[in-house]
């Protein structure tokens, strides 16, 4: 039995036959080159490697690319975390606007209309959290003594993410990480959609380095993130292979990274995410000061 083509392949086949690919006046269409997204730029893989995904040559990220992405993420992190919550909220809202604007492009890549709507709405939902999470997740602590004592969340730092395959899944792991001031290095196995999202991010006032996207094989690149001492947390939501997940978690213990394990069941990204996707990547800082005249 012939294998049924992937939605992206089917969509691409449709595009080829449509005026967009080769217009009626015989003009040849200009195709997109799918590259990595590191530090706000779109470099090819340092290794020079590409691989074929649904007819497109896509950059195949290497260990060096992963390390470069961590450097870019670290460089961006302090400033992104220091941006006001109001500012980060507006940037996330801007991402929602830009995804909406590129609607047709995502649909053409095979993202279902309902999923696209949910993804836009998810950016909006998280945009609103930027200046509320500290109020919901922090506390004023009534200690038994003359002290001012307050606990507030702070971003954990640089987060390595193995993204789930779907577009909504991709958004659902990036947004909760960055809204609180983390920066991310995302490994994706759905390059066309992810790189198109990178183009959205590049035009949404997201500072370079806040989101870095590496296309390729998680089994090859994720171990370098898991063992990297300058990565603070590892989100394994998109790891389907339990053995790989265990190996990555074990490796992450080397520098005591916070680890988000893969979900036990197939995740329903349309459900209310709750606070945990954000709180799993937050630290709590408690500050004491004496009171007195």
């Amino acid at each position: 039995m012939p294998k049924s083509p992937s939605p992206a392949k089917a969509a691409k086949a449709e595009r080829s036959a449509s005026p967009a690919e080769s217009d009626r006046r015989g003009r040849l269409a200009v195709r997109k080159t799918y590259k990595l997204y590191i530090g706000g730029a779109f470099p090819r893989s340092e290794s020079g490697r590409t691989y074929l995904v649904d007819g497109d040559n896509v950059a195949l990220a290497s260990r060096k690319d992963a390390r470069d992405a961590v450097v870019a993420a670290r460089k961006a992190q302090t400033k992104w975390a220091a941006a006001t919550a109001y500012n980060r909220g507006q940037v996330l809202y801007r991402i929602a606007e830009m995804v909406e604007a590129r609607r047709d492009e995502f649909l053409a890549l095979g993202v279902a209309a309902g999923e696209l709507d949910a993804a836009v709405d998810r950016w909006v939902w998280y945009a609103g959290w930027s200046d509320k999470i500290a109020q919901v997740h922090g506390s004023a602590n009534p200690v038994a003594g003359p002290y001012f004592n307050i606990s507030a969340p702070e971003p954990t730092g640089v987060v390595g993410v193995v993204a789930p395959a779907s577009f909504l899944g991709l958004v659902s792991v990036i947004a909760p990480a960055i809204v609180t001031g983390n920066t991310v290095v995302v490994l994706t196995a759905t390059p066309q959609v992810a790189v198109t999202l990178a183009e959205v991010l590049a035009t949404s006032d997201v500072p370079g380095g806040v989101v870095n996207i590496l296309t390729g094989h998680a089994a090859e690149t994720a171990p370098w993130l898991a063992s990297h001492d300058d990565v603070n947390a590892l989100d394994l939501t998109g790891v389907a292979d339990p053995e790989l997940a265990t190996e990555l978690e074990r490796s992450a213990a080397g520098s005591l990274k916070r680890v988000v394990r893969p979900p036990a069941d197939t995740p329903d990204f349309t459900a209310d995410p709750g606070l945990r996707p954000m709180t799993a990547l937050l630290e709590t800082k408690t500050v004491w000061h004496p009171k007195g005249f």
Binding site: S139, G145, L256, T286
Partner: protein, 477 residues
């Protein structure tokens, strides 16, 4: 000799009755270890006198303890929160009633001054149970979901520096949330946990809800790797924390870790120097420096260096080192021969690497494990004594010029548990507090703890919080 002479003022040890030997506390009763276990001795580190012989739990004992906790979990988690709360309130009250006994016991087994066990450790233990007792019937308001559930059986392994207090930090939130526990105290300080088992009996706590198994590292490893536990909570060294994190990888066990630290205590030139010096002393000599959040790196602004160092040395000369049961003692005994060897080794490395070592004139008792309060000046960030946790009364002094430099140096460590700031300038405190990568920041104070106040680290100091509303998250699904 110190310029202040004090007559000895020993606390009476008659208030505590230590049995010659102790078994394991499993399923509500004390019993000997199985053939897979053994026995070990616990000594008073101030005299090297053997206090008691204690059972060492083997694999079969761990199995029995986990099975008892599993059996108890169903009924305990099904109890109305208000009923669980009353057990915890009852325990808090018994701790208050037996506080002098527990304080003397803790000082005997650990070596810490009675002033600390009496005024800090034991009151905080009671407060911790009292605080979490009140959460047991209010969990849905804790911000961890509208229908929070307990995890099951919690395996808890605690260190020797605050034996009973660390037990309280582990057991109180676990029980309030509806979990049952198997707790292993440290090998060198098992007694207060065994007395706590007696308190559980006195409180009529249902059998199996709390199980106390004693033993060394191997017992702890067997416990955390046991397939029957749902949750692992560990306080101790970063190295063991790493091993535990590796061992739970690929399981569904939840994990919280409270590990080492190398805290910067930052003194600006406008700080009230006398108060800052008290804070420095409290930061590093409290509990003989056996404190994961100790202010072990002093960062002094260059312009205040001479003044701070002169005042610090003067103050250190008044510290009284000696009998932990003497109410005038400031610095007690080092907890074990092994820890003393570690402190000596790193201090020797500090001197060999070129830092200048200073201790006040100080007579140390002939018996027991002792180390004089020590500071090293001329320390650079590359020195091992500026990077590694010594876990003893040893302070490394570094300098800085600008707030940015202080931040840079303070954060230049894989740890991130705590930090201190001393300045009269409020805006500087807040800006510094924002930039320090540490879970607890003490401004114009140090080493303060409270059950309502979340405690825990960034980076390699571990993850999860203990204390406060945040502390419940570790025990809820």
């Amino acid at each position: 000799m110190s310029f202040l002479e004090y007559a000895p003022a020993p606390e009476s040890r008659s208030v505590v009755d230590i049995a010659p030997s102790y078994g394991l506390f499993i399923d509500g009763a004390f019993g000997p270890a199985s053939s897979s276990g053994g026995v070990f001795k616990t000594v008073n580190p101030a005299s090297e006198e053997v206090l008691a012989e204690v059972a060492s739990a083997g694999a079969e004992d761990v199995d029995r303890a986990v099975a008892a906790a599993r059996r108890a979990f169903g009924p305990w988690s099904a109890l109305p929160g208000a009923e669980r709360a009353k057990y915890l309130f009852r325990i808090a009250r018994i701790i208050q009633e037996r506080s002098r006994e527990l304080a003397v016991l803790e000082s005997l087994d650990n070596g810490k001054p009675i002033r600390e066990s009496r005024d800090v450790d034991v009151p905080l233990v009671a407060a911790h149970f009292f605080y979490y007792a009140g959460w047991a019937d209010k969990l849905k308001y804790a911000g961890h979901g509208s229908d929070p559930r307990p995890l099951g059986v919690a395996a808890q392994v605690i260190p020797w520096n605050f034996p009973l207090l660390m037990l309280a930090w582990k057991i109180a939130p676990a029980l309030a949330a509806g979990n049952t526990v198997v707790l292993k105290p440290a090998e060198t300080t098992p007694l207060s946990a065994l007395f706590f088992a007696d308190i559980c009996q006195q409180a009529d706590l249902p059998p199996g809800v709390v199980n106390i198994i004693t033993g060394a590292g191997e017992t702890g490893r067997t416990l955390v790797e046991h397939p029957g536990v749902d949750k692992v909570a560990f306080t101790g060294s970063t190295e063991v924390g790493r091993q535990i994190a590796r061992s739970v990888a690929g399981t569904s066990k939840r994990l919280t870790l409270e590990l080492g630290g190398k805290a910067a205590n930052i003194v600006f030139d406008d700080a009230p120097i006398d108060q800052a010096v008290e804070g420095i002393v409290n930061g590093i000599f409290f509990n003989q420096g056996h404190v994961c959040c100790a202010g072990s790196r002093l960062l002094v602004q260059e312009s205040a260096y001479d003044e701070v160092l002169t005042a610090l040395k003067r103050r250190m000369a008044t510290l009284r080192v000696g009998d932990p049961l003497d109410k005038n003692t400031d610095v007690g005994a080092i907890n074990s021969a092994a820890q003393l060897a570690r402190i000596r080794e790193l201090s020797d490395v500090g001197a060999a690497e070129g830092a200048e070592r200073w201790s006040p004139p100080c007579e140390l008792p002939a018996q027991g494990f002792w180390f004089a309060p020590t500071i090293f000046t001329g320390v650079t960030q590359a020195h091992r004594i500026a990077r590694e946790e010594i876990f003893g009364p040893v302070l490394s002094v570094l300098t800085f010029r600008t707030p940015d430099e202080a931040i840079e140096k303070a954060n230049n460590t894989p740890y991130g548990l705590s930090a201190g700031i001393w300045t009269e300038k409020g805006s500087l405190i807040l800006a510094m507090a924002d930039k320090l990568r540490a879970g607890v920041v003490w401004a114009n104070t140090f080493n303060k703890f409270d059950p309502t106040s979340p405690f825990g680290g960034y980076k390699e100091s571990g993850y999860g919080r203990e204390g406060g509303r945040h502390g419940l998250e570790a025990y809820l699904a």
